[in-house]
Symmetry: C2
Subunit: 455 residues, 2 copies
């Protein structure tokens, strides 16, 4: 008997009909002999409606009370889902984050999980019941207060439960078929990735792929949880996010059994051996690129005329760190010998831009730079793949493809399995398509695209 | 410093504007130097909407999950109310039934309170905060599950908190000005009662007055809690429901201090001495009638031709008791000597009628009666007043008034402070007006009537 954790997002439980459809899917998984734990988000637009109500009452809702308010959303969806399953003749019990043992710190609105004690969930499973757990929410022991986990919180709930319960797989149900080599809305010939390492997935998520939240991927990677990202609207195989460090996943990855897209795995235990393996022909011939992501949410700040003396970069980024902003790419130009001055550029979320600019401006006398430049018309393109580790030709191929398309590169940053470049915002989608083609990722058919998903 | 518990029903917090209005009222009570605890119902139609969702998912929602679902309603209203108070610069904290220590048995949908441990509420007050508690909901220690208290549950929450915290008064805010001598929609000249004993209030509530739930009144009476029923739409004094057994209330009732209707008591500690006392002239001159109530929700069953031998009535009502129906009035006719048979009639809620009829029908061979008659076209009129205890003329006056109006009396039942009569359903409202006038209850002005209220 396998233990499967499933996560359903808000678009999968948007109304009573959707809830019944999801309930049926859960029951089928149970009837196939699996133990099933479900993490569920609030229905469709519920969270937005609750936020709207809060803002009608006060422009700045108190964080503790906002968490109390928003957690009503999952309470509604989980109770409806449990009663729907009950009406199909299967035992099901809903649990709040607190009842499910999701212990967090006290940071309302963005709480971090500090412990998971799913005793009641385990008991429910032992008694043959399906456990339905509220996603997105937790509980702080010190204050006794309800907390929420922030964006992507329900994914994190599911992964944390899977880790704590030792689940065989954590299925993330969404409204797309899985992880794609690029955003199908921009690159129609993008194709679904059958398998991707958690390391590659992390890079893709961090660089703009929006199906999985980086935090949930990190949690899964750290705790050896295998993810299966798939659509709740069909029975197709989705994308397996495997953990290279997990002996099970690594051991079975090379066994080469196939069960390609389109074969429903409901009713079977989704052991990794039955899941599509990576294309082994490709992996010896050329660098294996997992996918390409584009991100338009960042801005670039350039600190102009910084004295080129040791410690200046550290000083600047210490000042920036105090604002809490997430710095992404950093580039320091070679110093012009004549002046002894250099320029330092970095990218950061646009939402952090104004505060960092203000903080840096007030530090100008102390740091001694000439001026600041702010540019929010940039786009970031990231090429991700574990295969590029051992192949030096990847960056050359990338730069050539962009050059031939007339796209100018403004910044470059690389990691072991990723190359990121910054271009003008209005060229990044062209860049995405050009690079997707250049690395042979184009599919023969166009992808079907549904709407977007929430928390 | 007085401790005031306030309860706001769904119609008082129907939207963001109403919530802000209620928040302002709460803040004013706090600013006047009182400690304030608030029990709040779900917003307007929220409960009905959640019930509707549940029924879209399954015709018979599982009771545990239905409670989980419905409790989302108060979670929303209490969080919004707390953040609204916070935005006015006062500390406020919302607490679920579980957090506020409302311990109940495990009967989902109609749980009874078994203990109240409001430690967190008390701590919040000690720290200067206003405590906002979810009405209607509780928590069972054995199962760890969320429960709901059933109809009128928020009133009960407020009274139970007032009792556990030793509050000076429990203010029940509603959409009418208080308790009236009769339903103002039927008797336009009904007037608001300034003070009524809990004993009288119990009889009125049990006989069709809908502003207060009998259960909350019982709880208040048993625990010596003084209630103040008043409108959340104005600052008028409402109706004080005092407890004759409570030494404070009894001692101050005769002190005769006046503060009639229309004098706002916001900003003052509503000590009972400042509240309107009963009209002492009236109480020595004639039997003090508190009010008249009419009830159209009952039906009458007559068991015809019961052998007039000892134990038959006990046998019949033991059979009826097994159905769980609430029997109200019982009348047994004098036996006709010639036949040795008698008729037994009783009233009960119409909703219980069919099941009791079926049960009795199947017991016919055993009991040995001739036939059953079912009549759901009856109306019940109840005249309530502690003064009738010592005045034998009340029933004569009642029967005369009805006779002169041509209204036939079908059943009569009396308690120490109540006389109930059953009439045809279509005459009960006429009866209400006639009796109201006959006992000198008519006011000089017509009452203003708002809409109805929920749980």
């Amino acid at each position: 008997m396998a233990l499967i954790v499933q996560k359903y997002g808000g678009s999968s439980v948007a109304d009573a009909e959707s809830i019944k459809r999801v309930a049926k899917r859960i029951v089928e998984t149970r009837k196939a002999g699996n133990e099933v734990v479900v993490a569920v988000s609030a229905m469709g637009d519920t969270t937005d409606e609750l936020l709207d109500l809060a803002h009608q009452v006060t422009p700045i809702p108190h964080p503790r009370e906002l968490d109390m308010l928003l957690t009503a959303g999952e309470r509604i969806s989980m109770a409806l889902l449990a009663m729907s399953i009950r009406s199909m003749g299967h035992d099901a019990r809903s649990f709040t984050g607190s009842q499910a043992g999701m212990i967090t710190d006290a940071r309302h609105g963005q709480a971090r999980i500090v412990d998971v004690t799913p005793g009641r969930v385990r008991s429910a499973l032992d008694e043959g019941a399906i456990a339905i757990v509220a996603g997105f929410q937790g509980f702080n022991r010190g204050t006794g207060d309800i907390t929420t986990l922030g964006r992507g919180g329900s994914d994190t709930t599911a992964v944390a439960l899977a880790a704590a319960l030792g689940a065989d797989v954590c299925e993330i149900y969404t409204d797309v078929d899985g992880i794609f080599t690029a955003d199908p809305r921009v690159v129609p010939r993008a194709h679904k990735i059958d398998r991707i390492s958690s390391e590659e997935m992390l890079e893709l998520a961090a660089n703009g792929a929006k199906v999985l939240y980086i935090r949930a991927v990190e949690y899964a990677r750290r705790h050896g949880v295998t993810l299966h990202v798939r659509s709740s609207f069909n029975n197709n195989e989705g994308t397996i996010v495997f953990n290279e460090l997990a002996p099970d996943a690594a051991g079975q990855a090379g066994s080469g059994a196939s069960g390609g897209p389109g074969i429903p795995n409901l009713g079977t235990t989704p052991q990794t051996a039955e899941l599509p393996s990576e294309n082994s022909e490709k992996s010896v011939e050329e660098p294996l690129i997992a996918g390409v992501a584009a991100d338009l949410s960042e801005a670039k700040i350039t600190v102009v005329g910084v004295p080129d003396i040791p410690g200046k970069a550290a000083q600047i980024f210490n000042i920036v760190a105090k604002t809490g902003a997430n710095i992404d790419m950093i580039v320091q130009n070679v110093s012009a010998a004549a002046t002894g001055l250099t320029d330092i550029s970095f990218t950061l979320p646009k939402s952090d831009g104004q505060q960092v600019l203000q903080t840096l401006t007030s530090s100008q006398p102390e740091v001694g730079f000439s001026s600041l430049q702010y540019d929010d018309q940039i786009g970031k393109l990231a090429l991700v793949g574990a295969g590029m580790r051992t192949n030096a030709g990847v960056s050359a191929k990338l730069f050539t493809a962009l050059y031939e398309a007339g796209i100018n590169i403004e910044m470059i940053s690389t990691s072991e399995i990723r190359i990121s470049v910054v271009t003008r915002a209005d060229t990044v989608n062209d860049a995405l398509r050009v690079v997707h083609t250049a690395f042979g990722l184009d599919s023969d058919t166009e992808a079907v695209v549904h709407g977007g998903t929430g928390r």
